[in-house]
Each structure stands twice: as structure tokens, then as C-alpha cells.
């Protein structure tokens, strides 16, 4: 059975754009299951429900969990690997004599779930976890650029992280909405007129970008061109 693991980011981007329902349709076309690790569920549902902000958004996510569009994952193996990955990632970079705590447990639970479930991919909108998996050198450069003091790298720990995560494929909410668009799921929003497809694609991409998906304007323009040329 195929599986796609979600970090909180893409669920937040979709919900805040009133697009969470798109997951119902995408799941039908996925031929597998969508999962959120337990710590991610806590970020998405439990914490906002305990406060005043984003409460209704939390209820929408909770509804998708009850409908089994999103399944909550929690196993001892995932927990153990998440803790190991957290330890490795947070002991990979040192600045001014201090280990940089670059990631949090929920994000490592996403990666651990992907490894244990042998997932088809993970959906992550934020940049740091994505770079840790795909391009740790770019992450080193980013840290060096922004932090005062030399960033030293624990290559051994980075390599171990890489060893665990090398088969993980990452997509973002922008790719999810583009696939939904290509499948015609969003055609009901098309306006009359020549530029209607471009308008729809731009509106979708800007929507998720403005709610936190790590996509630059250049990438966004490239995606618009890809989707609307010919």
C-alpha cells in the first residue's frame, strides 16, 4: 500500500486557503493512504483547539482525520527513529561552541514515519527540514550567512542522517495543488475568458506561498509557465 506522509505545513497551507477538501479527491487518485504523525496532529489540532486562534481550521483537520483522509501514525519504532534523527540533526551544526537546535521532534517524526513506512513521499512546506534531507550543504551555507560566528559541521552526524533519509522524496503544497489543478479538481473556479487557466494557477500558487509554503517568486513563475504554456 502506498503512503504519503504530511508535515503540518502543507495541511496549514491548504486549510488556510480553503483547499483542504482537495485532499479527499487526491487520496482517491493516490491509491494509498495519507498519514500525519502524532506530533504533527498535536500541532495541527490539539494546540489550536486549546487556544482561541485557528480553532475552526483545527476542526477542519480533525474532520479529515475522522473521515480517514488523514490517518494518525504513532508506533514505538517511529518514535525511536524520530528521537535518533532529532539527536543527529541537532548535533550536526555548531556555532560559537553551541550545538544548533535546528529542528523539532514533529518534523523528525515525519521523516521517521517515511523511513519506517517506506513512504512514496513526504509533503513538507518548510525549508530547513527539506534542506536537511536534500541539500545539507545549502543548509550549512544558509546558517553561515545568517549567524554570527563560524558554523562548524559534524559531517559524521549529517552523513548518518543522510543515510536514513536518502530515499525520501519531498513534495510541497504547491505541487499538490498543481496536481489537483491538472486533474481538473479545481476547474469549477475557472473564469470565462482567455487567461482563466493562468489566473487559476497563479491564484493557487500565490495562495499557498502566502501561507508559508517555501517557494520563491522565480519558482512560482516557472510553475505558472509550465502549467500554462501550450
Amino acid at each position: 500500500m502506498k503512503s504519503l506522509i504530511f508535515d503540518a505545513g502543507p495541511v496549514i497551507s491548504l486549510t488556510t486557503n480553503n483547499l483542504l477538501w482537495v485532499l479527499d479527491y487526491l487520496k482517491d487518485r493516490f491509491n494509498g493512504d495519507f498519514y500525519i504523525p502524532h506530533a504533527v496532529k498535536s500541532e495541527l489540532v490539539d494546540k489550536p483547539l486549546a487556544s482561541k486562534k485557528f480553532k475552526f481550521e483545527a476542526l477542519q483537520v480533525s474532520f479529515r482525520i475522522r473521515k480517514a483522509v488523514l490517518n494518525v501514525l504513532e508506533t514505538p519504532q517511529i518514535k525511536a527513529l524520530a528521537e535518533e534523527l532529532l539527536e543527529l540533526a541537532n548535533h550536526s551544526f555548531k556555532v560559537r561552541g553551541n550545538w544548533l537546535q535546528i529542528v523539532q521532534y514533529a518534523e523528525m517524526e515525519v521523516l521517521a514515519s517515511a523511513v519506517i513506512m517506506n513512504a512514496s513521499a513526504v509533503a513538507i512546506d518548510e525549508r530547513t527540514t527539506k534542506l536537511l534531507v536534500e541539500d545539507p550543504d545549502a543548509l550549512t551555507r544558509m546558517l553561515s550567512k545568517h549567524l554570527r560566528g563560524k558554523v562548524s559541521v559534524n559531517r559524521k552526524n549529517l552523513d548518518k542522517t543522510r543515510q536514513w533519509t536518502k530515499n525520501i522524496r519531498i513534495i510541497r503544497s504547491v505541487e499538490l495543488v498543481m496536481v489537483a489543478y491538472e486533474k481538473g479538481i479545481l476547474d469549477k473556479y475557472l473564469l470565462d475568458g482567455n487567461d482563466s487557466r493562468k489566473t487559476l494557477v497563479e491564484s493557487l500558487l500565490w495562495g499557498v506561498k502566502l501561507h508559508g509554503c517555501a517557494i520563491s517568486r522565480r519558482e512560482l513563475d516557472e510553475l505558472v509557465a509550465l502549467e500554462t504554456s501550450g
Binding site: 502506498k2 504519503l4 503540518a8 505545513g9 496549514i12 497551507s13 488556510t16 482517491d28 487518485r29 493516490f30 495541527l44 489550536p48 487556544s51 486562534k53 485557528f54 556555532v95 560559537r96 553551541n98 544548533l100 537546535q101 535546528i102 529542528v103 523539532q104 514533529a106 518534523e107 513521499a121 518548510e126 525549508r127 530547513t128 527540514t129 527539506k130 541539500d135 543548509l139 544558509m142 546558517l143 550567512k145 545568517h146 549567524l147 554570527r148 560566528g149 519531498i170 513534495i171 510541497r172 505541487e175 499538490l176 498543481m178 496536481v179 502566502l210 501561507h211 508559508g212 509554503c213 517555501a214 517557494i215 520563491s216 517568486r217 522565480r218 519558482e219 516557472e222 510553475l223 509550465l226
Partner: protein, 189 residues
């Protein structure tokens, strides 16, 4: 809470407290905000509560003094509290220093009841803003939200409205990533 403040952090905090008093004297709201950003660099590196709270309180003071005026009695009170915190830190009285920083927070919210909502909003905005800075430095969203005690929903939505993802662009193959997504959904109903 740990009684010690790392030497490098203490040195920076003393500088920040001194500069903050100077900028309040000269009415430099922008410089106060920059000072808060400077402090947040330490917060990203050391992830210590002292740098984090200093960054938030300096930003909040800059916003509040813009509203109340840098020649108001509040400005003088703020300056005195900063001087007092500086004094405690320089003599290594860490608990006393932290009590005084707490007083600075209380000061921002005790001035006038009718501004209470505005001040709460300013503090909250300061936390979200500082969280986005930490993310900009390369720390993950979840970690930044944990450090500042703000929700991930709030932080993600704020980050999306900044230019962080444009200014520190990570080059990726757009088509390749889209193809991965396409390949996942090419079956089913």
C-alpha cells in the same frame, strides 16, 4: 531556569541594554528594531531564553514608544528599567536581572488599560516576527515556533507574507519536483 548566562550572550546583552537606552534617549525607533534583530541572531545560535525575551521586549518597546512618544514619561521609565537590568547583569546577579526583564514586560502591559489589547497584540506580533527571523536564519518553523511559544499556524501564515523565501532562495528543479508529485497520483479513480 538555569542560573548561568553564557559569557558571549551576557556580553551581547549588556551591549544591547546600553544601546537601547541610547536609542530611547535619541528617539531612534528604527535603531531599536534593528537592535532587536541583532539580539535574535544570538537567540538563533544559543537558543537561550534571555536573548529571546530581550529581542521581544526591545521590539515591543520600539512599537510602544512610537505610539507614546520618545519624550513621554513612559520613555524615561523604560530607560530606567533597562538601566537597572543592565546594572544587575553586569554584576552577574542573574536572578535579579531576569526579574527586571520580567518587570520590563509587565511595564509594557501595565501602563494603560485601554491600550491592553494593543499591547498584547504588540507582544504577540513581536514573538511571531522574531520567530520568522529565526526561521530565516535556517532554524525550522516548528523549532522557531517552539522557541517563541507561538503556534505553527500563526508563524507559517506570517512567514508567507515576508520575502524570506525570495531573498534566501534555494535553487530547486521545479519540473522535477512536480513530476514526482505527478507520478504519485497517476493511478486511482
Amino acid at each position: 531556569m538555569d542560573e548561568n548566562i553564557p559569557k558571549a550572550v551576557k556580553k551581547d546583552l549588556v551591549q544591547v541594554l546600553k544601546k537601547a537606552q541610547r536609542y530611547i534617549n535619541s528617539g531612534h525607533s528604527k535603531k531599536l528594531k534593528h537592535l532587536s534583530d541583532y539580539t535574535i541572531k544570538n537567540a538563533s545560535s544559543f537558543q537561550d531564553p534571555d536573548s529571546l525575551s530581550m529581542a521581544v521586549v526591545i521590539y515591543a518597546l520600539s512599537k510602544l514608544l512610537e505610539r507614546w512618544g520618545f519624550d513621554s514619561e513612559y520613555a524615561e521609565d523604560a530607560r530606567n528599567l533597562l538601566a537597572s537590568a543592565n546594572f544587575s547583569l553586569e554584576k552577574d546577579a542573574v536572578t535579579e536581572y531576569r526579574d527586571k526583564v520580567k518587570k520590563l514586560f509587565e511595564f509594557t502591559s501595565s501602563i494603560d488599560d485601554k491600550f491592553k489589547l494593543y499591547i498584547d497584540r504588540v507582544i504577540e506580533q513581536a514573538q511571531i516576527k522574531k520567530g520568522s527571523r529565526i526561521y530565516e536564519h535556517g532554524i525550522s518553523v516548528a523549532r522557531a515556533s517552539e522557541m517563541l511559544g507561538v503556534g505553527r499556524w500563526e508563524l507559517m501564515s506570517y512567514i508567507g507574507k515576508t520575502r524570506i523565501h525570495d531573498e534566501t532562495e534555494v535553487i530547486t528543479d521545479v519540473k522535477q519536483r512536480l513530476d514526482v508529485a505527478r507520478s504519485l497520483f497517476n493511478q486511482g479513480k
